[in-house]
Amino acid sequence: MANRTVDLLVIGGGIHGCSAALHAAMRGLEVVVIEKDTVARHASGVNAGGVRRLGRDYAEVPISQRSMEIWYRIEELLDDDCGFQRAPQIKVAETEADLDRLKARAADLRAMGFDHEVVLDRAQMREHLPAVSDHCVGALASLGDGFALPYQTTFAFQRKARSLGVRFEENCRAETVERVGRDFKVTTERGVFTSRKLLNCGGAWAGQIARQLGEPVEVAATAPMMIVTSRMPRFCTAVVGNETRPLSFKQMQNGTVVIGGGRRGRPNPETNVSELIFSELRQTAATAMAVFPIMRGATIVRSWAGIEGRMPDGIPVISPSSTEEGAYHAFGFSSHGFQLGPGVGEIMGELIATGRTNAPIAPFSITRFAPEAGASGSSPTHSQGISA
């Protein structure tokens, strides 16, 4: 079965694929998304849901800011509130040395022209986090951040895109990707798709696509582990991290507490199965109890780990292909891609439709992994282990 040649074929139905497809369709492109499983099956549907600018790699700050602007009007864009709640993101310091590092970071950002991250002294921190443990000395916060419901969000992107004519082919894995004349030809067990342009949003599986485009990169499959508790009385309205110990902590509107933070399980990208490693996860439990003593009484009802692509330097690839004109990449978000989804989709839509973008995406070029790349591209700094 051969399909009509479309303007853009997106490989991967996660938040980045769906968002880019939507933005490309908004610019008038005819778009097909192929997804090997179902939309939002992996990291996009089961991440911790943090909408976080706080603590990002410096290179990511501008695009994270751009994405935040879209989050603030997400319902207008998608006709769905995505469960988005504005809430402070707060990274607590357990020691003065931790706090000093956070202060230094805030100063760096101010020098770069960004003032969204602010230092909180102990009293200010306690105002936002009345339940925080007494031993915490202060915090760094981004007060205008928030959180959202990941599956609802990605599903909303899919539905909005579909309403603008984007076709989604689920359970449809890209087996081979090749260039045929000016077009791309992608073979799946459900037929051949041809397109003028191609976007690789394959997440943990994106390396297979990049390799076929002549751009081999190491994309490690990882499985950030998460816990959710039974409902508890409301005690926390912010999303909380920790400067030294991996933690991502939030209480949802319904009272359940979602705890993650980058401790990793065992992913199996071949079978789609991810396995929890409880001897690792126990440290997440211990950190949560150390920061919030009330958690000693919490009960875990479920834990899980989505499969996620991680780059060797911990920041994503957001880039035109350097080998095949008309091919693009947006993958390897390394456990912090959820917040970036709306913004990077907009950037990719613009880049693909017009051939250019003003967004500072040079640090995310795929060429940084080319053997001869050497010192080109910016060296990433302050990459964070916190999951999105």
Partner: protein, 471 residues
Amino acid sequence: MKTEPKTATLPAYDVVVIGAGPAGMACATEASRAGLSTLVLDEQPRPGGQIYRDIEASDSGRRGILGKDYEAGAHLASGLRASTAEYLPGAVVWNIDSEKQIDFSAGGGSRSVKAATIVVATGAIERPTPMPGWTLPGVTTVGAVQILLKTSGVVMEDLVMVGSGPLLWLAATQLIAARTPPKAIVETVPAARYREAAKHLGKALPGWRYLAKGFAMMREVKRAGVPVHRDAEEIVIEGETAASAVSFVSGGKRQRIETAHVALHQGVVPNQQITRLMNCRHRFDKSQRAFLPVLDEHFETSVDNVFVAGDGAGIGGAKSAAMRGRLVAMRVAEKAGRPVSGERETLKAALRKDAAVRPLLETLYAPSEDTLSPADSTLVCRCEEITAGQIREAVALGAPGPNQVKSFLRAGMGPCQGRMCGLAVSEIIAAAKGEEPSSVDYYRIRPPLKPLLLSELADFGAEEAPRQAAE
């Protein structure tokens, strides 16, 4: 708290049996007899499972109430006690990994053991019965009423039993024997089903004892003067803050019975939690109207050295469960290179005979249409208060299956881990899509299988040596 290092020094067993009902007790006894090191982990304080719950503690009066079949459990329990199998009661298994490390909670702390072979003998659970009012206080299940009867002898007065299935009739006779007969039985078996079931009568004859027992139970109910309303449909449990009445259509007219206590039942289905967690393959059995693990002729799942014995392999009842348990043990011994008991073929023949009555029962007591496709306003997921209508809306929006509906609506995300709604959700989605439950499949089951204290996890394996990199 005692902690076990989570390394190669974990206690290891040839066989770990999970569950001490008839299948688990028989399996562990047989396995240890074959010389296999065997551990039984069971949630209850004493062996017996649900069917023989508290069998060792029940006095002769209580056993009289529960019936002669209940006695068979005492024999199994004493067999387990006399065997060399280690038996650990009060042990709640909350995770099993792909290396067959079993994590469980017991005595306030969590520990792990390693198994060469795992036998899942976690039996059956009652089928979810979504209907208007089923979440009201005062509404319970027939199984729960039986547990009360077995453990404390306590029963409710004015109980109205609603639904269908052999367990409903058995519980009714036990209530009568306890001198607290149900106020009424409202049976949801459509009249036409008797004719359909009768087609299986010839093949069911080897199981005539079951049929005779069934008729005897119905006669006993009649003799006790319990009103039985047959062919009931459109059931509504009324009440504002608690159940106050059951109303239904039977014999062409709506009827109403006032009561504060209602027990629902639509049969039992295999408990899939562990086999789902372990990523065993499952299939949807149209006759049992439930998901069953895919098993070979020796009850081994698609995962090597993971077996299912008892009702978890497909509903067969207590006698079959015990036979299956023994057969599984024989197969495990055989795989371990031990001689196979000559009894195996005899057991297999007995198992086939015991199963003869099943097609008839499965046809007669298939779940009612009302509970398979509840009205839009009926709650399906009790934990998160999600209605059938919300599930159908999510499907209409494009959610393709139970896991997306779960992510979207939180159905199945509560403390019960979907045990109370999973099958109903799969059925509703399948019907809404015009597909079979087999193609929409079931929730992915995540650990912990049962709620676990965060503090217990924080202490879990805390003395472990260097952490492994989790790549």
